[in-house]
């Protein structure tokens, strides 16, 4: 008789990995990572001073891998929730392709490597901020806030807001008002963005027992708070221009984009029933991505390319 009964499918799944390399890439949440890379790149480029291009590229890689590692740790802890939600049921762990132990080890090893290499390549302030970001997303948001409070994505949103600050710190070795403003733009952008999605997917979140705002406080309160956060976000988006580290192109983009965000938030507030309500929330979710991308893209081109060429 064999010590291990490998004909039992449960034992076999625990002993033989079913993962392909692309499953581990999926654990890194590539779509979230792409936004992290983009905002961190903006922080790196806009920051005064210079970093050797190779070291800047490796710093960016470290920030991306650190963000991906926190995504893997998030998927490890949230596998039970993910299995209940349509949107996430096919993720590698609930689908049985990657074991929880593999995901945990993968996340921890990448976290350690990304922080240490960033410290060696750039500086230890940037590495410390990256370590704090990973801790904040994996522990404060995923383990603590997400299942406890409907304010989960407000406070947890800080984790997604740190990358430009880390990029800035990698170049300057400091945290300044400018990098805090970039942080605040993403911080105040996060609630309207995710609550618009939560309005559409509230049944999914309710089934999984996640206390998202529409589930706990109701859709009316969610619509009110989306409007309030957008009212705060629109002028905040203009702050880089008024603080002098963005030019006219950025100011125009932030003004038009901010007004469009406000209009979409008002639409969400007004349209409360059926198809038009879902459509308004869907439009806010999609446009909010365009808005944030446009702000950082214009800042990147204006300060990183145009300002250095002319």
């Amino acid at each position: 008789m064999s010590l291990v009964d490998d004909t039992n499918p449960v034992n076999r799944a625990a002993l033989v990995s079913q993962a392909e390399p692309r499953d581990f890439i999926e654990l890194l949440k590539p779509r979230v990572m792409s936004l992290v890379i983009f905002t961190a790149l903006t922080g790196l480029v806009v920051a005064p001073g210079s970093l050797h291009p190779v070291l800047a590229a490796i710093s960016l890689l470290c920030i991306a891998v650190g963000a991906g590692a926190s995504g893997a740790l998030n998927m490890w802890y949230d596998a039970d929730i993910d299995a209940k939600m349509v949107r996430t049921a096919n993720r590698p762990i609930p689908a049985g392709r990657v074991s929880p132990g593999e995901a945990l080890a993968f996340g921890l090893v990448l976290s350690a490597f990304s922080v240490l290499v960033l410290g060696l390549v750039a500086n230890w302030l940037a590495a410390g901020l990256l370590a704090f970001t990973i801790f904040f997303y994996a522990v404060v948001y995923t383990i603590w806030l997400k299942r406890w409070t409907p304010q989960n994505i407000v406070i947890g949103g800080a984790a997604g807001a740190f990358p430009p600050m880390i990029g800035w710190a990698a170049v300057t070795g400091s945290v300044s008002v400018e990098s805090i403003v970039l942080f605040l733009i993403i911080f105040f952008w996060t609630p309207p963005h995710f609550w618009a999605l939560a309005l559409i997917k509230s049944e999914d979140y309710a089934r999984a027992g996640v206390p998202m705002l529409p589930v706990v406080a109701g859709e009316a309160e969610t619509r009110r708070l989306i409007l309030i956060y957008t009212v705060l976000l629109a002028p905040l988006g203009m702050a880089p221009y008024f603080l002098g580290f963005a030019g006219m192109a950025y100011a125009a983009t932030a003004l038009v984009g901010g007004l469009a965000m406000l209009w979409l938030a008002v639409e969400i507030f007004r349209k409360r029933e059926g198809g038009p309500a879902r459509k308004a929330a869907g439009r806010m979710f999609a446009f909010s991505i365009v808005y944030l991308f446009a702000l950082f893209a214009v800042l990147l081109v204006e300060q990183g390319v145009v300002a250095r060429l002319f």
């Binding site: 076999r12 002993l15 033989v16 990995s17 079913q18 390399p21 070291l55």
Partner: protein, 54 residues
Amino acid sequence: MSDKSREPGIVLTPEEKKRQRQRNVAIAIALAGLCVMFWVITLVKGPAMLQRPM
């Protein structure tokens, strides 16, 4: 030799062998990438790599 040591243990299916090979290749590429990255960092940072407070 006992009967136990002659038992094949877990026998991988062809699909599992294929995935194992893919994972091995990915790990090899990642390790090679790390070696190249540290080599490049050393070149770029130059003597500054050695100038660290003890």
